[in-house]
Symmetry: C2
Subunit: 273 residues, 2 copies
């Protein structure tokens, strides 16, 4: 089983910490210390692959990082290298399918199935750079917006920000990954899960590479002088919801929408130009 | 007594909250709600004046805000409108002094005496936009860098960030406001204060418009689910140091350096071109 997740957002928003927390791995151990200090001046594409196993199911996970996004003085076209990479992965798949005539189920699937777009917690609504990125990527990949470092927001600030972002997304007609409307065959539970997930967008996330002791339990957390934050506590973090969605309930749907919607419109463009 | 303080930094970094906390006033009550949501596309200059009184000493404080700084897609010249404003205030003073022949002590002093430069807590060192700004403003105004929303950083992260910023400031030869080296006439106390202030640069600051109850005391704070942060507690906030410095101990020195150093070099440019 193959799945490719892309993370996009400015340097220092906690992207690598979050990926380690989400998949409970140490994916970025190989990164040199200097890369952590200064982002590149133009956007680069870095991919890392890891084999995960959950209850007997093997998952080949590829994480695509985009260092340099929004980090320079001029971000007018920083979405472009990202769009080009996604198209390049479509082309690889297209060539395997057409010129080599390989049956789809045997083609290695390196297309990007999901893009987590990291929003800084200090924004008050979509910024010009966010609108620009979402506008150019919405028909190419399943975009899921997340509010990074949500432990820096009070409950009231988080609620107001989520509300404002949803209204901006609506106003600018941005199309995000849409949780499949509960169809009648689905049982009660899945329908109510879809509803909870739909209502948590944009997901409030936080991450930590450190395990601490809080209330007698071991948790991944951040120890502030005024209290310990358990980054997986669903009272104030949507991390657990997002993990369940990406790894279990919506993994297949994300792959299907990539294939049937985004790749199909790419194919149509290739055929009819 | 007149004093003009400028605050520069991206939208949403807590600048207006901090000014209210620092001077314990409600300076920004007049701001319309829409201005809080979307920053302007180009940098604007907004000034507000308030009369403060502290133990019988009247202080006419002007706060200069620079909405739009670093908020658009292209920040390559966003320092320019700010530099132009500072020069404009020098020119007003210069004209009063020369063309009208008014004695200095009767000229209204609207020159900018100090600039607080707000650095986001998520950075790992000076970014291109910070280096650019500091490079162009360092010989025009007394710049004091501050780390905004420091309650979002663990003690270890804050220590590492202060260290990295000082090393970047040194590497790029940036000249900040320099606390007057303790001269021999100063007593023990002032010398040790100057030392503490010098060692706290860049100041870690936080702010709040809300008063809460914590450990039986009323404090200005932020109530997270995991604990209450007293934004004036000097165990993790440099706010009290900064307030003492700006309002008491270094107020006169900031005015003197503005007049004897920055304005003098402006005057020399006017005379010799
Ligand atoms: N407040 C807060 N800080 C975080 C969080 N996750 C990571 N950090 C800190 O943010 C810094 C940058 O994190 P990193 O994951 O390297 O960011 P990246 O550049 O986006 O990959 C590190 O100092 C982390 O300790 C979080 O959820 N909340
Ligand atoms: N975590 C944190 N949030 C803050 C702090 N100060 C203000 N905020 C929040 O940040 C948001 C923006 O603050 P504001 O002062 O309006 O920012 P400005 O645009 O820079 O003037 C508000 O929701 C504040 O509640 C702080 O010290 N720490």
């Amino acid at each position: 089983f193959e799945f490719t997740l892309m993370v996009v957002g400015e340097h220092g928003l906690g992207k690598s910490t979050f990926i380690n927390t989400l998949f409970m791995t140490e994916l970025y151990a190989d990164r040199p210390p200097t890369a952590r200090l200064h982002p590149p001046k133009t956007v680069e594409i870095e991919t890392r692959t890891v084999e995960l196993e959950e209850k007997g199911v093997k998952l080949r996970l590829t994480v695509v990082d985009t260092p340099g996004f929004g980090d320079g003085m001029n971000s007018t076209e920083c979405w472009k290298p990202i769009l080009d990479f996604i198209d390049q992965q479509f082309l690889k798949y297209y060539q395997a399918e057409t010129s080599f005539g390989i049956e789809r189920k045997y083609v290695q699937d390196q297309r990007v199935h999901c893009c987590l777009y990291f929003l800084p917690p200090s924004i008050r609504g979509l910024r010009p750079i966010d609108r620009d990125f979402l506008h150019h990527l919405q028909h190419k990949v399943n975009v899921i917006p997340v509010i990074a470092k949500a432990d820096t927001l009070l409950k009231s600030e988080l609620t107001a920000l989520k509300k404002q972002l949803l209204s901006d997304i609506d106003k600018h007609g941005v199309q995000l990954y849409d949780f499949p409307e509960g169809d009648s065959e689905q049982d009660e539970d899945s329908q109510s899960l879809d509803k909870t997930l739909r209502e948590s967008i944009p997901f409030a996330i936080m991450g930590s590479n450190i395990t601490l002791e809080s209330n007698g339990r071991k948790v991944r957390g951040r120890a502030y002088p005024w209290g310990i934050v358990d980054v997986e506590d669903s009272k104030y973090s949507d991390l657990a919801h997002l993990r369940e969605m990406l790894c279990k309930t919506h993994l297949q749907d994300l792959k299907d929408v990539t294939s049937d919607v985004h790749y199909e419109s790419y194919r149509a463009q290739q055929l009819f130009g």
